[in-house]
Amino acid sequence: MQRRLLAQTVRLNITLGGGVDRQRYWEHQKQEEDKMPLNSKVAIINLSSGEITTKSIPERMRRLYLGGRGLGAYLMYNYIEPGTDPLGPDNAVVISAGFISGTVAPASGRTHIGGLSPLTGGFGSSNMGGYFAPELKFAGFEHLVIKGASKKPIYLWVHNGEIEIRDASHLWGKDTYETQQIIRDELNDENIKIACIGLAGENLVKFANVRTGPKDAAGRTGNGTIMGSKKLKAIAVKGTMDLKIANPRKAIEYAEKAKKQILSTKAMKAMSEDGTSYIWNVTNTTGLLSYKNGQTNKFEDWPKLTIETFKEKYCTGMAGCFGCPVHCRHQWRMTSGKWAGTFGEGPEYNSQAASGACWVNDWEAVLMQAHLCDIYGIDTREFGTILGAAMECYQRGILDKEATGGLDLDWDNANNLVTIVPELVAKREGLGELLADGSIPMIEKIQQRYGKDASYYIQHVKGLARLGTEERPTPSFALGVATSTRGCDHLRSRPAIDLFHLPEDFLKELYGGYVSGDFTSYDGKPWQIRWHELLYTVVDSLGLCKFQTVFFSPHLPQYKEWCEYLRYITGMEFTPDELMTIGERVYTLERMFNYRYAGFTRKDDRLPERYFKEAVPYGLPVIRGKRLDRKKFNKMLDEYYEHHGWDNDGTPTPETLASLELDKEPSHQL
């Protein structure tokens, strides 16, 4: 049975019929829309009752939150009540396209997905590339707030202002590739873009992701799990509606200029050749990548996994996300071996590093690990770390063969393991059952079942598993990871340019404050981290790609350029300072979210103990022997809170909230 529900913006031109009325309708529509920058709407979908309402986004809200991650955070704060069970019907999954997604601004195809995270209990937030966000905008929507839970599997069909809830019983149990193709066949349109979950999401694996296309995934914090708990298998979108551009001629001119600026940097040139994997050689030769769950930062076999080898053996071409001139995604196909015929896109550096963390030294195993995680809908980052942690527990005798369901978790068996365990995790079988709930439950399970303490080896921040990068020699990276609003994560603030030894006067001009040019220093780093946090918040709110702002190069577009985009595309005037304030507002709101739902304060802005106790054994002389100094780290935290206007416990002060107009939240204005 299919319930067919029409949203408020049903295409009236059909119901109105003939010429005159249609003309009048379009004129009326035009007048209404002229009042709002861009014309995308918010849809509130209740899966329990089947009720759907749509709302326009007033300019006032744009001024406060832009769109994408910013407005998404606002919607989460307003639509999720404190005390909600992350897997209960009251949780919401908020799918957001960026403010300028789908326009000519280069790389504007990012989708942001959020909800109360089942993994951390706090702010769940994840970003993916691909074509989903632009298609959602062309279908007339910018944000989908999905609440309630269905009794049987369903999927949403979003099409030109219409939202339909459709049966998905036949899709339940299908992998993320099959699901997308079945929906396309069913709706008879190959251009439909689909965000869906795999087996992991259905089985409520806590780090299940949301997937679109062959590769893109909103991986972290378990948004796929929330979708699974709602029995929401997929969201299919297709749209042919206009995205109004305020000044098309200037927008084109400016986009062309911005495109040239982006491609003039060496970092972006390297990315268009090698993808994110271009940093593999650098991080391995310097010692900035950690292996064996953080026990070492030297991997003799890294030359086996270079991007050059990959390109020679497996790569079939390059692909780009929507509107991206950089195209950093590899397409690959295996032509021989036991996995011959397997096709995929990627892998990203992070997936490569994730399997590297488990001591994998075979390209095909790396590709298969990423591919299997993709089809089952598992976050590759979380998977790699948690498997690595289990392997160290095995090494230390905390887990034995009985506990692992008969699997040999020896480091030398890694090539084999990474291609077996994804399925076990997705189906919650054997070892998979131990891993499937994430870091904190895994520590508890080991404590309960075997009476052993594994908390030193199962490393996480706020419940999100640690990264594969080595943060001990770089205090700035470590501070960013500790304070990130979604748990252990680099994409909230990573100042990659900190490694470049840039001159200090240049840094002062860029950051508007003192930042040490030495990456091993603790000086000025809290200011740097705050600056990057605000920048990345704004870039996510606009729906642009983080790599195309100050991430790998200081010469990429940032606030000044975005003000121009906004002027020509949306017709709204912003100053760089105003955008920064929006960044601060959104980041503080995320912080409040964490405080309100999970009680996160300073005690949770912590790092795994290993960061302070064990020194990095190898690497360049400036890196070797480094570990974090607890006293200096705490001093950095003090400074960091002060820069944000939060108290010493890491909670925003009433004055800060008032100055950011957050003191009346949740204000239910949308």
């Binding site: 551009i245 780009g320 991206c324 196909r333």
Partner: protein, 166 residues
């Protein structure tokens, strides 16, 4: 001498920036459905093909148009639609072998590439160079050079094998 659009499918990354740019330039809005150029993607095979009007010399659309709304602009080397005459019958869409005639769902009329009056915006934005606007005499050169390079590679390989270098 007029110029033509040349498409190299192997270079296309499927980013569809051309679609956003085309609709913005020609319609003032971003909407791939109203773009003259469209990228066809075969997602599971890793293939993407930009498709656009080939501006045929003896065009089927021109021949079939019952009201002679389609005419060839010899100076620019393109086929243009005269909307004063066009009755919106879409027969040109039926006749075009490439699907290059599209129907604009907003203005309810057929749309086709008219080469942006000699400065195609898609070309300016296509970074990989999958769509290029070159002199007619140069239209075949990219492929010829490709062939040349592969012949050299083949000869080199044969020599290596012959000399036992490999």
């Amino acid at each position: 001498m007029s110029k033509v659009l040349v498409i190299d499918v192997e270079k296309c990354t499927g980013c569809r920036l051309c679609e956003a740019v085309c609709s913005t330039v020609n319609e003032g809005v971003s909407n791939p459905a109203r773009s003259r150029v469209k990228v066809v993607r075969f997602e599971w095979d890793g293939l993407q093909v930009p498709t656009v009007c080939q501006q045929c010399e003896d065009a089927a659309c021109v021949a079939v148009c019952p009201v002679k709304a389609l005419t060839r602009d010899e100076a620019l080397g393109c086929v243009r639609v005269n909307y004063e005459l066009c009755i919106g019958c879409r027969v040109c869409m039926m006749a075009c072998p490439f699907g290059a005639m599209s129907f604009d769902p907003v203005n309810n009329r057929v749309i086709k590439c008219e080469l942006c009056d000699g400065d195609p915006a898609c070309v300016r934005f296509c970074e990989p160079g999958a769509i290029q606007y070159v002199d007619t005499s140069m239209a075949d050169m990219a492929k010829r050079r490709q062939l040349g390079a592969s012949i050299f590679r083949a000869i080199g390989k044969a020599e290596e094998e012959f000399l036992g270098v490999r």
